[in-house]
């Protein structure tokens, strides 16, 4: 699960966490006892259109500098990441 969640954890902590998760899952399994037969299988909240009209939300590029200042690694206005395809 930790791998799936992209979280690297030391083995000793994983062990502690497993015990805690067992306890938490044991408790939350309580929901399985609830009788939900009165609730439809597919709950649809009231739907309404939340889309705005097409068009520019703001002037192009006005946030770029501030946003890029928070990026750990960047080059020439681009976010820099390691390559993901091996030769």
């Amino acid at each position: 699960m930790a791998e799936l969640a992209r979280i690297k954890m030391p083995d000793n902590e994983l062990e502690e966490l497993c015990g805690q998760l067992d306890e938490i899952l044991g408790y939350v399994s309580e929901v399985q006892r609830a009788d939900v037969s009165s609730v439809p299988k597919h709950i649809l909240p009231p739907l309404r259109n939340v889309f705005r009209e097409d068009g520019e939300a703001h002037e192009h590029g006005i946030f770029t500098e501030a946003i890029m200042a928070n990026v750990p690694s960047s080059e020439g206005g681009y976010v820099k990441v390691k390559k993901i395809l091996e030769k």
Partner: protein
Amino acid sequence: MKEIDLKTLTIQKAQDGMESGEFSAEELTGVYLTSIKVKNPELNAYLSVFDDAINEAKEIDQKRARGEKLGTLAGIPIAIKDVIMVKGREVRAASKVLSGHIATYDATAVVKLHQAGAVLLGMTNADEFAMGASNENSAYGPCRNPHDPSRVSGGSSGGSACAVAADMALAALGSETGGSVRYPAALCGIVGLKPTYGAVSRYGLMPMASSFNQIAPAAKTVADTETIFNIIRGRDDKDANSLEPVFANSPNPKIIGVPNFSPEGMDERVRNNYELSVERLGKLGYEMKEVKLESLRYAVACYYILVPAEVSADMARFDGVRYGAHIDGANLLEDYGMTRGVCFGKEVRRRVILGTYVLSAGYYDAYYYKAARVRELIRRDFVDIFKQVDAIVMPTSPRPAYKLGEISSNPLLLYLEDIFTAPANLAYIPAISVPSGTVREDDVDLPLGLQIIAPHLREDVLFDIGKKFLGEK
């Protein structure tokens, strides 16, 4: 230095004081900044303080001198929880993963506070990404209870509640997911409001569990809480789930529901205090009516499936690539794992992994899907009950403030602290916590809170009952 009695100061009194020339906005902000300097080293309510707040206050004074029209909060010093964006300031969600992160824009609620003339004092401590009930999950040390610094402030908006209770701010913004303002407000002895889901724009609030999150005000009085709420609420194009306010006829609640809900582990002193509160409401002329809310017993279980599920999705953006911290690994995948493993605290990791589990293919139906239907059951139960009563009262927390470390070593025990607060979040409805007296422990008077819950978008009912309960005009 000007003497201002902060203990009894309210927004209205502060406005009267500035209007009559008794003190200026600059002096008021100065007194609060001094109070922070004196008290914060011990209480750790603020993670950062805006020393330049004094300049904002001076501007208000100049506007007043020029006879310009001033907003409702002109010169009022307010604290902001470290999960709400304030442009140009370091906003870290009390997490190492956002260390050094400078907010690039203002949250809509912050824009509205500024427009009303508020002076922002700084960013307040919280549990990391607002995950926790004791403020002990902050990466920058716990916030302490002003009534007894060896005890927790409550969380997750512990810094906001502590700042208001210890006169380090006149009011504060916190945020709610499962009681994160009401609970610390109760433990610190102030008022905390959880607005209806959608009543206040979430734009600029760091998402933790998007179908629950709300920006939520805290103050010393119900009237001050109402003032802040009226300023920050309303529909916002930047939050698709935000709602237009409903202006109902003036509220005239008469019948208050008392649920037959008495969970295990509830402190006897809390039960007694609650019974006294129910009695007091009866004497105030309300008809107190016992109500059945059978689904409440599933609330915490339901909450701790749905919230971690949403957490696991909302936390995905913290990858060491786009903002904040980055820990280098051998390749991109390792960068993700290292950054998230090292820079997320224990509770955040626990919730992300728990959420990943309840959403995984083999377990989705048994956990997430079932819990989503239970949530709907709880919502409907409240809708049905509100056909019989105008509001419901419950305690806010099952116990008064406890010692640091006393229960935080057991995550499940801490989750169960949400037992009275989580139902309103699950049902999308508003609730308020108001001080309901104290219990004496170790020669300290520890505050308790009474929680009032109202139907969807009926915050006015909460303010009405809350003011009568506290004897506010």
